[in-house]
């Protein structure tokens, strides 16, 4: 009887222990299954990982193709922009050049400065005609920019004598001494005025004081007024 009871106790304990192990492992497993997040890659099975990998690869290829496309388009735009930029640069340069030639900018360069001055023993003042002759002579000699008393001579500049008493250039009255600046080939400019039969000689013979200076950096101001065109088309 005692032996039977002992055997029963051992039996119960052993089954209890096995149940203990079983329940423990079971609950651990429940926990694992519960806590497993399907998105966490570490816990996934190989087949699942494969499927996921191929999925991502597909997506990657799609995106890559799209990226290439967009890059191509971008490159096209860039090329276009570049060419546009070049065109605009060229136009800008041209515009600047035209402005320089029109006389709308201050310019600098080698040339000569002529100063005309009346002296006490003159009975007549220097006239606009004298200035015109000098300007024409300078133009003929290849002057690129001319100004008289800082009044820029452009293609439509006027040099007129008003009432035989004062000279107007570009509508502005100017007074003696007249300082004529010209940018161009120094030698030609000078010789056009100084040579035999040159106008400077003639002026000097009238008794005016004329001096010519050569300069490597002559500054000529821009034409101050607006250049309007109303009838030109």
């Amino acid at each position: 009887m005692v032996i039977r009871k002992k055997g029963k106790i051992v039996m119960s304990i052993s089954i209890g222990v096995s149940c203990f192990v079983l329940a423990m492992v079971m609950f651990m497993q429940f926990k694992v299954v519960n806590q497993t997040d399907i998105t966490s890659i570490e816990n996934m099975r190989e087949s699942e990982l494969r499927a996921e990998l191929s999925n991502w690869k597909e997506k990657y290829e799609d995106v890559n193709a799209r990226n290439e496309e967009v890059t191509k388009t971008l490159q096209e735009y860039r090329d276009k922009e570049k060419s546009d930029n070049e065109t605009s640069k060229l136009l800008q340069k041209e515009l600047e050049q035209i402005n320089v030639e029109l006389g709308k900018t201050d310019v600098e360069g080698e040339g000569i400065t002529i100063t005309l001055k009346e002296t006490q023993n003159n009975d007549t003042a220097i006239t606009a005609d004298d200035l015109l002759v000098i300007v024409n002579a300078l133009k003929l000699a290849g002057a690129e920019a001319i100004s008289i008393n800082e009044e820029r001579i452009i293609n439509i500049s006027d040099i007129v004598e008003i009432n035989n008493s004062f000279v107007k250039i570009n509508g502005q009255r100017i007074l003696s001494p007249y300082v004529i600046k010209a940018i161009g080939p120094q030698v030609y400019l000078e010789s056009s005025l100084l040579g035999s039969g040159g106008y400077v000689d003639e002026l000097k013979s009238y008794g005016y004081e004329v001096s010519i200076e050569k300069g490597s950096r002559i500054n000529i101001n821009k034409y101050e007024d607006e250049i309007k065109s109303k009838y030109m088309q």
Partner: protein, 128 residues
């Protein structure tokens, strides 16, 4: 007595299992097959107790050997790319049902015996 052991062991195991650290999902299939094997062994143990041919050595060796063997089979199946653990599950669950039938029959027989005894007693009382 046996059932007390089962309940106590299960409760203790549940408490410890809940507080145990989480193992990686990779090994969860081994754990699952071990659970099935252990469950089968426990059912076998109970049925053997009821049949009065319980042997501690056989029970314990069966408990651990089944669990370990099933885990090894699962591992082998993984290496061979064959789902061997399915065969193990089929065997274990089939045996579980057999054992459950034995347990059920035992108690049903016990119950019906009791009713018969009661009826006999009643008849004896009536005849008196």
């Amino acid at each position: 007595m046996v059932y007390l052991g089962i309940i106590l062991g299960s409760l203790l195991g549940a408490i410890i299992g809940v507080n145990a650290p989480v193992i990686s999902y990779t090994y969860s299939s081994y754990l699952a097959i071990a659970v099935i094997a252990a469950l089968d062994s426990v059912f076998g143990g109970i049925s053997s107790v009821l049949k009065k041919n319980f042997d501690l050595k056989i029970f314990l060796s069966g408990f651990f050997c089944n669990a370990i063997l099933s885990m090894l089979l699962t591992y082998l199946g993984e290496k061979l790319n064959v789902d061997i653990y399915l065969a193990a599950i089929v065997v274990f669950v089939g045996r579980m049902f057999t054992n459950l039938t034995i347990i059920r029959r035992y108690y049903v027989d016990k119950w019906s015996d009791k009713i018969q005894k009661k009826e006999k007693n009643n008849q004896a009382l009536e005849s008196k």
